[in-house]
């Protein structure tokens, strides 16, 4: 099962350390391979090192793709973490 969704980064500081860590943790708990695309760069959402180098600033349009049995759940989890507001 493959699902895609586009999401816009709303946090003023962009996709910074805490959301990156939360996304990686959420994805690792599920049976899905999730990729996040920012323009030409694609990273594995389960790898904190890769997410932290994505450089997604506020307003960036990210394409999230999930594959696997928990694809839908993983996509929801990633988008929920991206929407969370951090100080």
């Amino acid at each position: 099962m493959v699902v895609h969704r586009t999401v816009v980064v709303t946090n003023p500081a962009g996709l910074h350390a805490r959301p990156s860590a939360a996304i990686a943790q959420a994805v690792r708990r599920l049976r899905a391979k999730v990729e996040i695309r920012n323009r030409n760069e694609v990273v594995d959402a389960g790898n904190i090192l890769e997410i932290m180098t994505l450089g997604a600033a506020q307003g960036a349009e990210l394409q999230v793709t999930a594959k696997g049995p928990d694809a839908e759940l993983a996509l929801d989890a990633v988008i929920a973490e991206m929407a969370k507001r951090y100080e």
Partner: protein, 304 residues
């Protein structure tokens, strides 16, 4: 940029009438800075300290207000290349208002500690506490990143992961400095609580803040010590991985070299015994194969 907020029924809400008693200045413009210095009598140096990441946390008493400079972690961006930096923030506590000065635009007043705010003093304390909580969250992330880098180093021959670990080590030094600076600030606030109008529950909260900050400092210190002590071992792992690659390449080179030598000897443009033998090609191939087996046997016997 100025955000006006007010305390209504123990909650902080955006000011509707444009007045409010909590003013948040984010990277104030020249005009805003002039207003703060001239009209509100903020000390120019203290105001600059609130925007300078290298300033130490401190508490200063002015005739009309109390100035608090605190350290907080700066939000990480991908350009930081695994260096977690710290920033300063200024809280200027007047009898009837609180002015917050920050260098960058970050959402403030989030988290459960801001659900109930008794007074402006309480709000100022909760902002210091929120900074400790922010440090703590970043420490957990530094630990996660360090684990992920370690996994990469175990199989890598590149320096970049080691350099990233050095960046984390540097970040922890910044964090230790920021946390120890905040610790001194909390101690000073505790000693001057009565002068600042802090009492009752807020005094207990101050004790909790000191403990939390102390624990956070200890955690940062432990992470820093672990990273520093394991760095040499990780450098050796990368070097060893590279050695293994060189060894494999050497085996391939030597294994090819000997049969090449055998074939080249028989390729010389001179007369050699048995050159007209019909099976000479296969004899040469056989000798080349024997040379490969010979190399393999010596390699195995010498336990290289």
């Amino acid at each position: 940029m100025l955000q006006r907020m007010e305390l209504v029924d123990l909650k902080l809400v955006p000011s509707e009438n444009g007045e409010g008693n909590v003013y948040v200045y984010i990277n104030p413009s020249e005009e805003e800075r002039k207003y703060l210095v001239d009209a509100l009598k903020l000390d120019e140096h203290t105001l600059s300290s609130a925007l300078d990441p290298d300033e130490q946390a401190r508490l200063e008493f002015e005739p009309e207000h109390t100035a608090i400079i605190l350290k907080r972690p700066r939000n990480y961006s991908s350009e930081d290349r695994f260096v977690f930096r710290i920033a300063s923030a200024g809280l200027f506590l007047f009898a009837d208002k609180l002015i917050v000065v920050l260098g960058d635009n970050v959402p403030l007043f989030l988290g459960k500690q801001f659900l109930r705010i008794a007074s402006l003093q309480d709000l100022a304390l909760k902002m210091i506490y929120s900074s400790t909580a922010h440090f703590l969250e970043h420490l957990k992330i530094i630990n996660m990143v360090s684990d992920a880098l370690e996994e990469q180093i175990n199989t890598s021959m590149h320096n970049k992961y080691l350099l990233n670990l050095f960046s984390l080590e540097k970040s922890l030094v910044y964090y230790l400095n920021g946390l120890s600076s905040n610790s001194r600030l909390i101690e000073r606030v505790k000693h001057n609580a009565a002068k600042m109008g802090i009492g009752g529950e807020s005094l207990e909260f101050l004790d909790d803040m000191a403990i939390e900050n102390g624990q956070c400092y200890e955690q940062a210190e432990i992470y820093s010590n672990i990273l520093a002590s394991m760095m040499d071992a990780r450098v050796s792992i990368v070097s060893n991985n590279l050695n293994w690659l060189m060894k494999t390449l050497n085996i391939i080179t030597i294994a090819i070299m000997l049969p090449t030598l055998v074939v080249s000897i028989f390729s010389m443009n001179v007369s050699f015994p048995g050159k007209d033998h019909p099976g000479m090609f296969w004899i040469i191939m056989g000798l080349a194969l024997v040379s490969v087996v010979l190399v393999r046997t010596v390699w195995w016997w010498k336990k290289w």
